[in-house]
């Protein structure tokens, strides 16, 4: 019997469940490897070569190279793991969040100062 997924229709949201975790296992474990300074240096030196050491799908590797976080999430990435990528790039959570919403970081920061995205807003 299929698992119950009552969260399947939350707008603009992928829930990191068992299926996503299975799909994204190697992508997320690649991210974990970036917690070591030596690995961060090797990744920065040649991103493609470093990614090729991991049994990730071509789509996952391309999404990492393009820093397309929405795509990485669709392909099984989880934001706390993906955070290791933008931390390696010296970027903040707010930078990544703005990128995923298609806003400039400045506009996004302004939206947060005004109380954040309204729950009624359709995305």
């Amino acid at each position: 019997m299929a698992l119950d997924k009552p969260y399947g229709n939350i707008p603009g949201t992928v829930i990191f469940d068992a299926d996503q975790a299975r799909l994204g296992y190697h992508l997320n474990q690649f991210c974990m490897s970036l917690m070591k300074a030596g690995n961060r240096a090797r990744f920065k030196e040649n991103e493609r070569a470093y990614l090729d050491e991991w049994p990730m799908s071509e789509g996952q590797k391309e999404a990492v190279l393009a820093r397309d976080y929405n795509r990485m999430i669709a392909l099984g990435g989880n934001i706390y793991f993906l955070a290791k990528i933008f931390s390696t790039d010296g970027k903040s959570f707010q930078h990544a969040a703005a990128l995923m919403t298609g806003m400039t970081q400045e506009d996004y920061a302004q939206m947060m100062l005004k109380g954040g995205r309204s729950p009624g807003e359709k995305r």
């Binding site: 969260y7 603009g12 955070a83 931390s87 707010q94 954040g116 729950p119």
Partner: protein, 280 residues
Amino acid sequence: MARISAGVATSHVPAIGAAIDNGRTAEAYWQPLFAGYEFSRRWIENARPDVVILVYNDHATAFSLDIVPTFAIGCASRFEPADEGWGPRPVPVVIGHPELASHIAQSVIQQDFDLTIVQKMDVDHGLTVPMSLMFGQRASWPVRVIPLAVNVVLYPPPSGRRCFELGKAIRRAVESFDEKLDVQIWGTGGMSHQLQGPRAGLINREWDNRWLDGLIAEPESVAGIPHVEYMREAGSEAVELVMWLIMRGALDQRVRTLHRFYHVPASNTAVGHVILENSP
């Protein structure tokens, strides 16, 4: 006999830790947030707990996808602040309480809560930011800490009901420990926030405050809120709030609210903070 004297709940946004570590707490952006913790700092200076059971979640730091424990209790004598990718926070080592932690583990497992027992675990911002908010910058922490890590990253986290009941079991465990100790329990994380996808930045002030009212006055009913409501109404990462129910479960049914604070934003997140006291 050990007893649980009070519960503290607070968000644990990493940017708050960075603001403290980089001396930016007086800036216009951060000042209103830190003002909300001034009472708390004075209060805890007076309360002087011996031990804090600190409920938090690991953010892909100590636990990768190789091992994902639903509830993990730290039974070691010390826990190092983790390097989360930009070097460890400049905060003191966290000193554990192995005797009480092992006692709690044995007791709650016998009450049907199958905790994972951890001896080696670096602690990330989920634990160290609440410590900084409550105690400020110190050469050493003035309290011993039992880390209780809850999985809220890989769906499904434990239900609100399960967390609430675990809190009750922890209270029974603490009260059966022979040494006279003043123990606090802290629940951390939340409140509304979504860090991922096109809906990132979601905040739901009304929902958060209704939930807080319920947490204080009708925790039994709040414990029944399903995960999907947290995620839909308050953002995918708001489900962290189930951790506050462990804290609440360890307290009396009726508590005294010593402090309540709510502020938007800290980076991407709505910050909530309460201090609840058991009757003496």
